[in-house]
C-alpha cells in the first residue's frame, strides 16, 4: 500500500515539479529582463498544447527508432531517479540497498540517452550536441559520485533512507559544506541546464533537439524538466535532510526543499552565461574533481 502511495507521489512530483520548473523559469526570466510573454502559469500548458498539435518532422535518413526512443528513455531515467527518493521513512518506491549506486548508473545511462538523441537525427548540429555531452558526461559523473560517497560515509549505507536518517542531528549541507555546491554545479551539467547547457545550446540552434518538433520534442522537454526534478529530489535527500523538519509532514518538507533546489538551478540558468566546453572541462577536472576529493577526505575524517 505504501509503495503504491509512494509511486503516486513520485508521478505527482514529476508532473507538478516539472510544471513548477516551467512556471518558475518564466517568472525568473521576467525578473531578469525578458519581455512579458503572457500568463506565466498558462504559458507552459499552452506551449505543451502547441507542441502536441505540431507535426513530428523527420530528417533525411534518421535512425528513427532510436530518435523516438531517446526522449522516452531519458524520461524513464528521470522517473527511476525520483523513485529512489524517500518521502518519509516508509514512503518510498524503491528503497534499495544500492540506491546511491543505481543513481550513479542512471547518470551514466543519461549520457547514452542524450547522445542517442543527438546522433540519431542524422544532422550535424544535433550530432555536435551529442558529442559535447559525451565529452563532458564522465567528468560530471565522477564529481557527482565522489560527492555522494561523501554522504554515504556517515550513513554507513548506500540506502537513501539511511542517508536521510543519518542527518537527524546535522544536515549534510552543514556537515560537508563543499558537497551541495559541488553537487548543484554538477547537476547543471547532468541536466544540461543554463550555463552548462552545452548539448542543447543556442550556438547549435538547440543542439540535440535542433531537428525535433511536435510530440517528440514535447516529450524531450518534459524529460529534461523531469530530470531536473529527480536531481533536486536526490540533492534534497543527500544534503538537505530529505523529509526531516519540524511541524510539517515529511513529504511536504521534501517537496519544499526540492522546490528550493529547483529555484536555485532555474535562477542560475538565467543569470550565468554558457560556459565554453573547453573551460567546462577544465573546471570539472582541475577545480571540481580535486574539490570533490577534499570533500571526500573531509567526510572520511568526520566519520572517523
Amino acid at each position: 500500500m505504501m509503495a503504491w502511495a509512494a509511486m503516486v507521489l513520485t508521478f505527482l512530483a514529476l508532473a507538478v515539479g516539472g510544471y513548477a520548473v516551467a512556471v518558475a523559469d518564466r517568472l525568473i526570466a521576467g525578473a531578469c529582463g525578458w519581455p512579458h510573454q503572457g500568463n506565466a502559469w498558462l504559458a507552459p500548458l499552452a506551449r505543451g498544447a502547441w507542441l502536441y498539435r505540431q507535426d513530428a518532422n523527420v530528417t533525411e535518413a534518421p535512425d528513427r527508432p532510436a530518435w523516438r526512443l531517446a526522449p522516452a528513455l531519458y524520461l524513464a531515467l528521470a522517473a527511476l531517479g525520483l523513485a529512489l527518493v524517500p518521502w518519509s521513512p516508509t514512503l518510498v518506491v524503491a528503497d534499495l540497498a544500492t540506491g546511491v549506486v543505481l543513481w550513479g548508473s542512471l547518470e551514466a545511462l543519461a549520457t547514452v540517452a542524450i547522445f542517442l538523441h543527438g546522433w540519431s537525427a542524422n544532422a550535424p548540429l544535433a550530432l555536435i550536441g551529442g558529442y559535447r555531452y559525451v565529452a563532458l558526461g564522465l567528468s560530471y559523473i565522477l564529481v557527482s559520485m565522489f560527492v555522494l560517497i561523501g554522504v554515504v560515509l556517515p550513513a554507513e549505507s548506500l540506502k537513501f533512507s539511511q542517508v536521510v536518517a543519518a542527518q537527524e542531528e546535522l544536515w549534510n549541507v552543514v556537515r560537508q559544506p563543499l558537497g551541495l555546491p559541488l553537487f548543484l554545479i554538477v547537476g547543471l551539467g547532468l541536466t544540461f541546464w543554463g550555463p552548462l547547457n552545452l548539448a542543447d545550446s543556442t550556438d547549435l540552434a538547440g543542439g540535440t533537439a535542433s531537428e525535433v518538433s511536435g510530440p517528440p520534442r514535447l516529450v524531450w522537454e518534459i524529460a529534461r524538466v523531469a530530470m531536473l526534478v529527480a536531481f533536486s529530489g536526490i540533492a534534497a535527500t543527500a544534503f538537505l535532510g530529505g523529509w526531516l523538519g519540524p511541524w510539517l509532514p515529511g513529504p511536504l518538507w521534501l517537496a519544499l526543499k526540492m522546490l528550493a533546489v529547483l529555484l536555485a538551478l532555474a535562477w542560475l540558468g538565467r543569470v550565468l552565461p554558457r560556459l565554453a566546453p573547453e573551460r567546462c572541462v577544465t573546471l570539472m577536472w582541475v577545480v571540481l574533481l580535486p574539490l570533490s576529493f577534499v570533500d571526500l577526505i573531509w567526510a572520511g575524517l568526520e566519520a572517523l
Binding site: 526570466a29 531578469c32 529582463g33 525578458w34 519581455p35 512579458h36 510573454q37 503572457g38 500568463n39 498558462l42 504559458a43 500548458l45 499552452a46 506551449r47 498544447a49 502547441w50 502536441y52 498539435r53 505540431q54 507535426d55 513530428a56 518532422n57 533525411e60 535518413a61 550535424p124 550530432l127 555536435i128 558529442y131 559535447r132 565529452a135 543554463g194 550555463p195 547547457n197 545550446s201 543556442t202 550556438d203 547549435l204 540552434a205 538547440g206 535542433s210 531537428e211 525535433v212 518538433s213 511536435g214 520534442r217 538565467r270 543569470v271 550565468l272 552565461p273 554558457r274 560556459l275 565554453a276 566546453p277 573547453e278 573551460r279
Partner: protein, 429 residues
C-alpha cells in the same frame, strides 16, 4: 471537441518565430526581441511562423525554400518588406514594423484555431542528391564507410586533427545563408572534428547592412555630433545584443537593446557594464581566441582594428571632434574579448562625446569628408567579402568560440548603402 480545446489553448502560447533575414531585415529583429507574446527560435523546426524580413536576392531563393519547407505543419509565413515567393500567394505581407507582433500573433492564432491552413510545401520531399552510398545505410565500403549518400560524404577520418593530435572522424556540412547565428547571407562549407573546426570555406558573403540614415547624411553635409554618436552607440549596443544572446545572456542582451532604444546624451553604460562583469561575460563565455593579425585588423578597420591597438579613426581628422577632446580609444590583443572591451569603451566614448557636443551648443561635424562609421571608415564601395578572414581565422577553434568570434566582427557591415529600393535600412528609435 478535444482538438478544438487544445487548439484554443495552443493559440495562447507565445508565438515561436524563426526570423529569416534578408537585406535590411534586421530592422524587424530588434522590435521583435523586445516584444512580448513572441519567442525567437534558432531552428526552423521549432517555429510556428516563418518571418521573412527584408529583400532576399534571387540566388538565395532556393535556400529560402529549403528553410521554408523545414517548418513542421501547421505553419505560416509572414513577409516583412519582402515579396512572397511564387506559390505562397496567400501569405501575408506587412511593411509597418509597429504591426509586426500583432500580425505574428494573429497568424499563430489562426493556424491553431483552424482558420488558416498550413503553408504549402515548395519543394518535392526528396533528397537533394541521389543515393550514392554503398550498402543500405552507406556502410558498405571500406572501413564501413561507403560512398557519398545523398551527395554528402560520410563522417570519416580523412585528415589529421590540426589542434591537439586527437584525430576524429571529419564531418563536412554547409551552413547558411540563413543560419540565425551567422550574419544574414553568409554561407560556408565547414569541416569539423568533434566540435573543432578543421576548415571553413565561405560560399556566399554576408549581405551588406546599411547604417543609420545619419551616416548617409554626414557624407553630404554637417550633422550634429550628438546625433551621429548616439547612432554609433546604438549600433554597437544592438551588436552587443546579438553576442549576448549567443552567449546565453539574452536577458542582458535585451537590456542592451532597451538602452539602445532609449538612448540620449545623458545615458550611461555603467549599469550594463557592471552586470556584464558580474554575470561573468568576460570570464566565463567563449571569448578566447579570434585574434586578428595586424594586416587583417587594418583591412577590417573600425573597432576591430582599434581593439588590436591600431590607431585608426577618421574622427581624428575632424576639427570639431578634436575640440571635444576626442582621441581614439585603443585596446590590446585584438581577440574576441578585446573587441567587446573595445565596443563597450567606444559606446561610453560616444555617449560622452554626445553629451559634450550638446553642451557646446549642439556642435556639428565640420563637413563632408572622411567619415568613421561604427564599423570602420566609410567606403565608397562595399567590401566584397569582409568574411574572407574567417577562412584563416576559424580553423582550430571550437564551435562556440568560432561563432562568438564571428559575432564580434562587423562582417556584414562593409557597406553604408541602403538595401535595394529602400532609403534607410536602420531606423533610429
Amino acid at each position: 471537441m478535444a482538438v478544438s480545446w487544445l487548439g484554443r489553448l495552443a493559440a495562447r502560447a507565445p508565438v515561436p518565430v524563426y526570423p529569416l533575414l534578408g537585406i535590411g531585415g534586421e530592422r524587424a529583429l530588434y522590435p521583435l526581441a523586445l516584444a512580448g507574446r513572441v519567442t525567437r527560435v534558432d531552428s526552423p523546426r521549432h517555429a510556428s511562423v516563418l518571418l521573412v524580413a527584408g529583400h532576399v536576392p534571387v540566388h538565395h531563393h532556393e535556400a529560402l525554400k529549403r528553410v521554408h519547407d523545414q517548418l513542421p505543419r501547421p505553419f505560416a509565413t509572414l513577409w516583412f518588406r519582402s515579396q512572397p515567393l511564387p506559390g505562397l500567394e496567400n501569405a501575408r505581407r506587412v511593411d509597418d514594423p509597429a504591426t509586426l507582433t500583432d500580425e505574428l500573433v494573429a497568424l499563430h492564432r489562426e493556424l491553431q484555431t483552424g482558420q488558416r491552413g498550413s503553408s504549402p510545401r515548395l519543394l518535392p520531399d526528396e533528397p537533394p542528391n541521389p543515393w550514392e552510398g554503398l550498402g543500405d545505410d552507406g556502410h558498405g565500403g571500406e572501413g564501413m564507410m561507403g560512398g557519398t549518400p545523398y551527395g554528402r560524404p560520410m563522417a570519416m577520418n580523412m585528415q589529421d586533427d590540426i589542434r591537439d593530435g586527437l584525430t576524429l572522424d571529419s564531418l563536412t556540412f554547409r551552413l547558411g545563408p540563413f543560419y540565425p547565428l551567422l550574419p544574414p547571407g553568409l554561407a560556408a562549407e565547414i569541416t569539423l572534428q568533434g566540435d573543432v573546426i578543421q576548415s571553413w570555406t565561405n560560399q556566399s558573403p554576408a549581405y551588406p547592412r546599411a547604417l543609420d540614415a545619419v551616416f548617409q547624411t554626414a557624407r553630404e553635409r554637417p550633422v550634429a555630433i550628438a546625433e551621429l554618436e548616439l547612432a554609433r552607440a546604438r549600433h554597437h549596443l544592438r551588436h552587443l545584443y546579438r553576442a549576448l544572446r549567443l552567449a546565453g545572456l539574452e536577458g542582458l542582451g535585451l537590456k542592451a537593446l532597451r538602452l539602445a532604444r532609449e538612448l540620449t546624451p545623458a545615458s550611461h553604460l555603467d549599469g550594463l557594464r557592471r552586470q556584464l562583469t558580474r554575470a561573468g561575460f568576460f570570464r566565463l563565455a567563449a571569448l578566447d581566441g579570434g585574434a586578428l593579425d595586424a594586416e587583417t585588423a587594418r583591412r577590417l578597420g573600425g573597432p576591430a582594428a582599434r581593439a588590436a591597438g591600431i590607431d585608426t579613426d577618421r574622427r581624428s581628422d575632424d576639427a570639431h571632434y578634436r575640440r571635444l577632446g576626442f582621441r581614439p580609444a585603443l585596446g590590446r590583443g585584438g581577440d574576441t574579448r578585446a573587441r567587446w572591451h573595445q565596443k563597450l569603451a567606444e559606446i561610453e566614448q560616444s555617449l560622452a562625446l554626445a553629451g559634450r557636443a550638446v553642451d557646446e551648443g549642439d556642435l556639428t561635424t565640420v563637413g563632408p569628408g572622411g567619415l568613421e562609421t561604427p564599423c570602420g571608415p566609410w567606403r565608397e564601395r562595399p567590401a566584397q567579402d569582409a568574411g574572407g578572414c574567417l577562412e584563416a581565422l576559424l580553423p582550430g577553434m571550437e564551435w562556440d568560440s568560432a561563432l562568438a568570434t564571428i559575432a564580434s566582427l562587423d562582417l556584414a557591415e562593409g557597406s553604408a548603402s541602403p538595401p535595394p529600393g529602400e532609403a534607410h535600412a536602420e531606423e533610429p528609435q
